[in-house]
C-alpha cells in the first residue's frame, strides 16, 4: 500500500480550499484508493453506471471500468459473501450496502465469516474489506431507510465500526478503512452527505486514524460524547448551552469517530476533567452504544463523577415514519434538558480541582 493519505507539497493550504460536501469527499477517497491500489474493488447495488443512489461512487466505473466498480445483483448477503471470497484471494473489496436496513440480509456473512475469518485461520485469511453503510435518519426516508444499526455491529467481535462526522474525516477515515487489514463497517451519516466544509481535495488534511476520538469543542462544564449524525447536534447544543444554567455551561464535545476500537483514553481524560457526561446518539437507548460507553465511564471515572452518566438516544421504538421522526431524533433541546439534569448542585469537582488526591 502507498501512504493512506496523499500529501502533495501544498498539503492543507487554505488558499486551495473550497466548499466540498461529505459525499464528494467520500467519492474522492474511493477514487484515490482505487488509483493507489489495483486490488481495491468497489461493488454493490447501482454503484456502477448510476454512481450509487447517493452518488458516492459517481464516475468510478467510468474511470476504472466495470471490473473495478461493479454493479451487482440485488442480494446483500451475496454481495458480502462474494466479497469474502475476493478478499480470500487477496483483493481489497469495498462493498456498498444501499441503506442501513438493507444491510440486514448480509448479517450472517458478517457475523459468521467476515468477523471471524482472521481469528478462525490464525491470521491466515485476513479480511481486508470495507462495508460502507449509509445510516441514520433525518432525511425524510420512508420505512427501512433511516435505521441506526451500529449497536448490532459493535456487538460483533472482529470488525471495526467507524463513522465520520466531518468532511475531512469522511475522506481520511474511509482511506484508513480501505487500507486496514481488518474488516471495517463504515457508517456514513445520510443526513451529513450534503454537509459542507472548506476542503482541498488535492491536499486533504491528515486526520487521526481509526480508533482515535477527537475533541471537537473543548469545554469545562460537562462532556458530550457523540458520533456521526449527532455531532453537529451536540456542537449546536454546546453553543446554546453558553446561555443556559446560572452562569452558562461550557460543554466539551467529543466526536468518537470510531466505536470499535473505542478510544477510552480520550473519553476518560475528558470526563475526569469535567466530572459530567452525556452520551448522545440516534440509535435506541436500550442496549445501545450509550449503555456500553456509560458503563466504561463509571468503571474508570467513578470518583470523578458529579452525576450519573446520562444518555440521550432515540426512543426504544422501531424507527418512526418520516412525518414523526423529528420527535424521535435527539435534538438540541433534548440534549440541553439532559445537561440540566447533571446535578449541578453537587459541585464536588469545583471544590477539588486537583481531583481530591484520587
Amino acid at each position: 500500500m502507498s501512504t493512506a493519505v496523499r500529501q502533495p507539497p501544498e498539503a492543507g493550504a487554505t488558499a486551495a480550499r473550497k466548499p466540498a460536501t461529505m459525499g464528494q469527499a467520500l467519492n474522492r477517497a474511493l477514487r484515490d484508493a482505487m488509483r493507489a491500489d489495483p486490488d481495491v474493488h468497489v461493488m454493490g447495488e447501482d454503484v456502477g453506471t448510476l454512481g450509487g443512489v447517493f452518488r458516492v461512487t459517481d464516475g468510478l466505473a467510468k474511470e476504472f471500468g466495470e471490473d473495478r466498480c461493479s454493479d451487482t445483483p440485488l442480494a446483500e448477503a451475496g454481495i458480502l459473501g462474494v466479497a469474502v471470497g475476493m478478499a480470500m484471494y487477496g483483493l481489497r473489496p469495498v462493498v456498498e450496502m444501499q441503506f442501513d436496513a438493507f444491510a440486514f440480509p448480509a448479517f450472517e456473512q458478517l457475523v459468521s465469516h467476515v468477523s471471524r475469518m482472521r481469528n478462525r485461520t490464525r491470521g491466515g485469511l485476513p479480511m481486508p474489506l470495507t462495508v460502507r453503510v449509509p445510516y441514520g435518519g433525518g432525511i425524510g426516508g420512508v420505512e427501512h431507510h433511516s435505521d441506526s444499526s451500529e449497536a448490532y455491529y459493535m456487538a460483533t467481535p472482529g470488525i471495526h465500526v467507524v463513522t465520520p462526522a466531518t468532511v475531512p474525516d469522511a475522506y481520511g477515515l474511509l482511506r484508513a478503512a480501505i487500507a486496514s487489514d481488518d474488516p471495517v463497517i463504515f457508517l456514513e451519516p445520510k443526513r451529513l452527505y450534503w454537509s459542507k466544509a472548506d476542503w482541498n481535495p488535492e491536499a486533504p488534511e491528515p486526520v487521526p486514524g481509526i480508533g482515535k476520538a477527537v475533541v471537537r469543542r473543548p469545554g469545562t462544564s460537562a462532556t458530550l460524547l457523540t458520533y456521526g449524525p449527532s455531532v453537529p447536534v451536540c456542537l449546536e447544543a454546546a453553543e446554546a448551552a453558553r446561555e443556559e444554567g446560572a452562569e452558562g455551561w461550557d460543554l466539551e464535545v467529543i466526536d468518537l469517530r470510531s466505536l470499535v476500537p473505542f478510544d477510552e483514553e480520550t473519553v476518560v481524560a475528558s470526563v475526569r476533567r469535567t466530572g459530567r457526561a452525556v452520551v448522545v446518539h440516534e440509535s435506541p437507548g436500550f442496549a445501545g452504544p450509550g449503555g456500553e460507553i456509560a458503563a466504561r465511564i463509571s468503571e474508570r471515572c467513578f470518583h470523578y463523577l458529579e452525576a450519573p452518566v446520562l444518555r440521550v438516544a432515540g426512543f426504544d421504538i422501531p424507527y418512526p415514519p418520516p412525518m414523526l421522526e423529528r420527535h424521535h431524533l435527539p435534538g438540541v433541546d433534548r440534549v440541553l434538558d439532559a445537561v440540566a439534569r447533571l446535578q449541578w448542585e453537587s459541585g464536588w469537582t469545583e471544590r477539588h480541582p486537583d481531583g481530591g488526591g484520587i
Binding site: G81, M86, R116, D182
Partner: protein, 390 residues
Amino acid sequence: MTVLEQHSAYAPTPPPSWRPRTDPAPLLPEAEPYSVLGGEGGVRESGVEPEAELLLRLYEAVVHGRRYNEQATALTKQGRLAVYPSSTGQEACQVAAGLALGERDWLFPSYRDTLAAVARGVDPVEVLSLLRGDWHHGYDSRATRVAPLCTPLATQLPHAVGLAHAARLRGDEVAALALVGDGGTSEGDFHEALNFAAVWQAPVVFLVQNNGFAISVPLAKQTAAPSLAHKGVGYGVPGRLVDGNDAVAVHEVLTEALDRARSGGGPTLVEAVTYRLEAHTNADDATRYRAADEVEAWRAHDPVALLERGLRERGLLDDEAVSATREAAERRAEDLRARMNQDPELDPEELFPHVYAQGTQQLQEQAVQLRDELAAAEFGDGSGAGEDRR
C-alpha cells in the same frame, strides 16, 4: 471490454422485443444420473474407457476414505473428537471432489467434507481440528487451497464464487469447487451464489451431494424441484445429474465442469445422488426417521463395493491387491489414531491475538486478565495470587 462487460452489457429492450434470453434446453440435466460403474456393461457415455491409473487412484482413495470415516467415528466414541459428521456412503463424491481439482484450484468444503480435504492431500489431523475442538480451523488454507470447513450451510458458496471471480479478474486459470448438501440448497446463500456465479460467469463448480437427508428431514420436505440439478436452469447454469456413488462418474463430471470453468465457460451445478449411510452425527439417531430396509438397499449400492467390482471386471484388481489396499488403509488409520490420541497443545493466550491485525486496548486488557488468572492457577489454591482486586 472488461471481464464483467462481456456478459452483462446493457442492451435496450423495446416493448415487443421479449424473447428468452438464453435457450434453456442445453441447461437441463440428464434424465437419469450419469453412471460409469453402475450402468449395464459399465461403459461411459463417451465410450472412452477411463485410464487404469485413475481407476486405481480412485479405488485406493475410497478404501482409505471408508477406513478414515470409521476411524473418525471411533475417535468420537472415545472422546477424541467433539463430534463427527460421517461421510460414510458418500466416499465416491468426497474422493472425486478432492482428486478432480487442479493444483491451483480451490475447494470450499462444509463440515461433512473432511474426507474431500484429506483426498486433496491435507493432513487429516489438521482437517479434524474443528471437530476435535482445539481450534476452529487447522490447516493452511492458502497453501492447501482448501477453504475452512464451513458450518453454517451454504454460506461458503458465495465465497467460492468471489474467489473464482477474483482469480478470473487477475487472469489466473483457477477454478473453485464448492460442496453443499441437499438441505443446503434451500438456503438463500445457495440461490445468491448460483445467481452471482451465472451473472458473472465465474469459474466455479457447485457439487450438491444429495444424500437424502438434512439431519432427519427428507428431500421431499426440502424441495419440489424435479431434481436439484434442475435448479441450475433458473439461473442460466447448466445442471448435471450423476450417480454419486460412482466415483468414476463423479470424477469425470467434475473434471469436465472444472475444465469448462477454467477455460471461461462459466459455472456448473452438479447433483450427485448418494446416501448418508450413517446418522447425521454420532449424536443423532437415524432410526427415528428412516427404515432399516432403505439403508440396506443403499448398502447394496455401496460406493466402495461398486468401484471394487468395476475394477475387478476390468482385470485391474485381484484379491491380493484388495488386501494390500485395505492394509495400507489400516496403517493410515493407525497413524491417525495414534496422533489423535495425543492431547493437542492448547494455548489459552492465543484466544486474543488473531481477532484483529492489531488488538484493541480492551482486548489487550482482557489478555492480561487471562494471563493473570493462568498464573494464579499455576500457584494453586490458597496462594492468594490473583486475588488482588483491580
